[in-house]
């Protein structure tokens, strides 16, 4: 079997489990929503501040939700020892990585659409029409990067006790450059400065490709140590 079809097999399996259990959609999505609300409370109802900081708050919310999605993605593998079966299956580590990351990307994209709607309504943000495409593609690239980083660290700690507390400590510093770039790109897009937005967007793209490459190389060996 090829790398792509193996990755699709894993991604389909994860998505099917999600469609049955609805853990991410029924638990992580509301979590993201309440975080958006809490930010508004924390910054008071000073409506002048919220539109300015909205891109950063959006990406922080996505990152926090992504931590939960990653932990869920590896919880289903750990529950009845399925990681052993994956190791024994002979599937390429790269395929397993791509499949699991792809499933997380899909889940996060759905979550982002809902959260973005929330940001428009609650934070009074306007995205200029011509910037929508740029914002969407940067969002996809950033989501790929977050999912890739999360998947690598997820398998890194899969065999360790106290993994729930370790994942955030490992993932959050690693995603800081991404958060920075994606937030700036969104900010400039909202300010209708498309060229600066796309410069930051291309940095997001570069980071995403590095993260995917690291995952493809490192996931297999890390799976062995889990």
């Amino acid at each position: 079997m090829s790398l792509a079809s193996d990755a699709v097999l894993i991604a389909k399996k994860d998505m099917r489990i999600e469609m049955r259990s609805r853990i991410v959609f029924a638990q992580v999505l509301p979590f993201g929503g309440i975080v958006l609300l809490l930010f508004a409370f924390a910054l008071d109802t000073d409506r002048g501040v919220l539109p300015i900081v909205a891109p950063g708050l959006f990406w922080v919310t996505v990152t926090l939700s992504a931590l939960l999605a990653v932990s869920r993605s590896f919880a289903i593998e750990a529950e009845h020892g399925a990681l052993y079966a994956l190791r024994l299956s002979g599937l390429d580590g790269a395929a397993i990585f791509l499949g699991k990351a792809a499933a997380i990307v899909l889940q996060l994209l759905v979550l982002e659409v809902v959260l973005a709607t929330g940001v428009f309504v609650l934070y009074d943000v306007h995205v200029p029409g011509e910037a929508v495409l740029a914002v969407a593609s940067v969002a996809v690239a950033a989501t790929v990067a977050i999912a890739a980083i999360g998947t690598v660290y997820g398998v890194l700690v899969a065999g360790i006790r106290a993994r729930e507390t370790l994942v955030p400590l490992l993932v959050l510093p690693a995603v800081t450059p991404l958060l920075l770039a994606a937030s700036r790109s969104f900010e400039y897009a909202i300010d209708n400065d498309l060229s600066t937005s796309l410069r930051w967007g291309s940095l997001v793209g570069v980071i995403a490709s590095v993260c995917v490459m690291v995952g493809v190389v490192a996931f297999g060996p890390l799976l062995e140590e889990s």
Partner: protein, 218 residues
Amino acid sequence: MSVVRLRNAVCLLGRFPALAGADLDVRAGEIVWLSGPNGAGKTTLLKLLAGLLQLHRGTATVLGIDLAIDRHTHRSSLAFAGHDTFAYDDLSVSENLGFAARAVGASQDAAANAATHFGLDDLAAVTHANLSAGQRKRLALAMAFARDADLILLDEPHAGLDLSGRELLDAELVRAATAGRTVIYSSHETDRAVGLNARTVRIVGGLAFQDALAEQSE
């Protein structure tokens, strides 16, 4: 032909020598029963043979592959069922079987046959979470047997199975052995081994004590 050859194999769980210098020889087509008290090292031995644990010291050759160097290559020719079912709670019996078969490159026919052999046909649409312990065991065994493997490693496969389940399992074990496959299983059920004509290896204190008769015949 020797399928398994262990010499002075030491395998650690943390800092504990779960296997403390075990010697073991298994020939092709044999059914080997690992007996012994809890904590003797049976599970560790099976996991070591599957390449899931690192060999700390000694030598281990499985299906002609030196496990100290390569813990991957032989995996494509072995089946393993452990205490965990390796299944996903939210997937049904047929989905779990289908995924397991695809992941190891086996055909869907093989998965369907394995389901039939373990009496799972009526449960195809039931999710793993809703199965009883015995039904989960059958599913785990069917997932292992769906693979066309030369070496079948089973950790307490009889535990939790009812009488009909045990008979289905034993029939599969005999069939596998007559087809030239090698079976190594651990069990606390003394009476099952007799019907299988299995060779007994006692595991005690991290060491393997092979059947005296078998050693003489070597």
